[in-house]
Amino acid sequence: MHVRADGNESTTTTTMEESWTGVGDFVLKVDPPQHTVHLNEKSKNATYAVRVMALPGFEGEVELSLKGLPDESEYVFSREEGVPAPLFQSVLRVEVGHSTRPGQYNLTIIATSEGNGYHHEGDNHVEADDHSDSEITHEATVFLIVDGEPTTTGRHFEKRLEVRVATNADYVKGPNVEIFGKVYLRHGDSISDAMVSIEVLDPSGGTMPVSSTNTDKAGFFSKTFALAPNAMEGLYTVYVTASFAPYKDAVAKTTFTVGGSDAPSILITSITVTKTDDTIPSEFLAGETVVVWVTISNTGADLQNGMIWVEIIDSNDVPISVVVVIAAIHHGEQVKTGLQVVLGSDSPTGIYDVKSLVSNGEISKGGKFLDSEGTSFAVA
């Protein structure tokens, strides 16, 4: 039996006592239920184990978000998304700032799945036209207690609005293109009810009208627009602008190809950080080697002499390393490459950013970046 889910958004709150058994999609658990951070201690972080267990029939990908982070604090998940097969584990690490106000904070961990691949009750297959309509959300709340005296010295955590965007298909055959993404603060909360304006440029630079939308409670947004039957072949560029007071607007872009294109259509489909033994640690130590794995697909024309760049930015916002490899990425190919960076023995602790970009040559020789993606990791 084939079931369509229109407008079915399911939300449940998972308590700490809930068992792994149940019916439906997946179960979310976060432990321990409470952590205390002392502001007068050198180490001001709290870690929580996050586990997502798929229930029979669920095969979708789950993405983690957080809400309720204290001011002047940051967080990182060791793995932000994954497919529970049947278990997906991540570690939430919260770095509390020197000037965070003492008190008890409720951290809400949100696990969201688009529902793709969700097989409900045996043969029933849930399929949805719209990303948000089929969204499955589970939440778990844990406590963070901050005590001690806040100070005004030390690093200030700059919170800025960020947005990321993707499309349902980088090579569009059908008439509908789904544009979706997430709005959040850098190393901070997901932003609900942010306004997201979408603009699509066709291969000649003409603007295609797409109305705006708002993010849901987990910070996600989704919009579907229809391509004209005689839509021009080539590379389309999607721009999204996220607005949420009092922050400065954030802009991101992605591309998709209709039919053939004489330009490469490059998408970084995943970026993960591991140790050299391929394990994903909850934190790295100073002096350790970080391997950044970047997966790139190309649905446009061949990219000869493509350059895959990785930049690591430490917890003080200092770029500590830029590494690059040259790779040809042909039409229809998916390339996965690992770039190693050795952390200095005096690396500061905290949350590090990883940026990966793909260019068609050195920028110093007139090249340009074709796509970019980022992730974060913790150094203890």
Partner: protein, 155 residues
């Protein structure tokens, strides 16, 4: 012999109807010490010097040895402006650094620009104290020599 001429329709290709982009580039200072924040700003304009919003900026910063120390991909604002910031790593080589930028947008021809800035040795408090002491010492030395020369002239 009759030659049949067949006109084949050309596939629609992206044109550069909107013209050539121009990108301006500047840094907030001409020289920096390691550990300082550098702010790179600029603007993307079209051939009519009108601001171009949503242009993609690719930025690469190379050190004096042509080694890349920073990269960024940003998008211009409604007024065509863009900003990139990063902190100069401690231990950076002294010398001239170059910021390269390429601006691009569908329908336009890409534009490139570059600008240089210097990283100079950091003066610590103790360095400054030594410099002041040395200046005072030299000033005293010069004054004494002048006095000695004046005495010699009188004699």
């Amino acid at each position: 012999m009759l030659l049949a001429v067949v006109l084949l329709p050309f596939a629609a290709k992206p044109t550069n109807a909107a013209g050539q982009l121009t990108v301006t580039l500047s840094t907030d200072k001409q020289s920096y010490e390691a550990g300082q924040l550098i702010t790179i700003t600029g603007q993307v304009l079209d051939t009519n010097l009108q601001a171009v919003a949503l242009a993609s900026l690719s930025i690469q910063v190379n050190d004096p040895n042509a080694k890349t120390i920073h990269i960024a991909s940003i998008i211009s604002s409604v007024d065509g402006s863009f900003t990139d910031q990063f902190t100069i790593p401690v231990g950076s080589s002294n010398g001239s650094y170059t910021v390269f930028a390429t601006a691009s947008k569908t329908g336009y021809t890409d534009a490139s620009s570059q600008i240089a800035y210097a990283v100079v040795p950091e003066f610590s408090t103790s360095d400054m104290a030594w410099l002041i002491t040395l200046t005072i010492f030299l000033a005293i030395l010069v004054t004494r020599r002048r006095k000695t020369a004046t005495k010699r002239d009188i004699q």
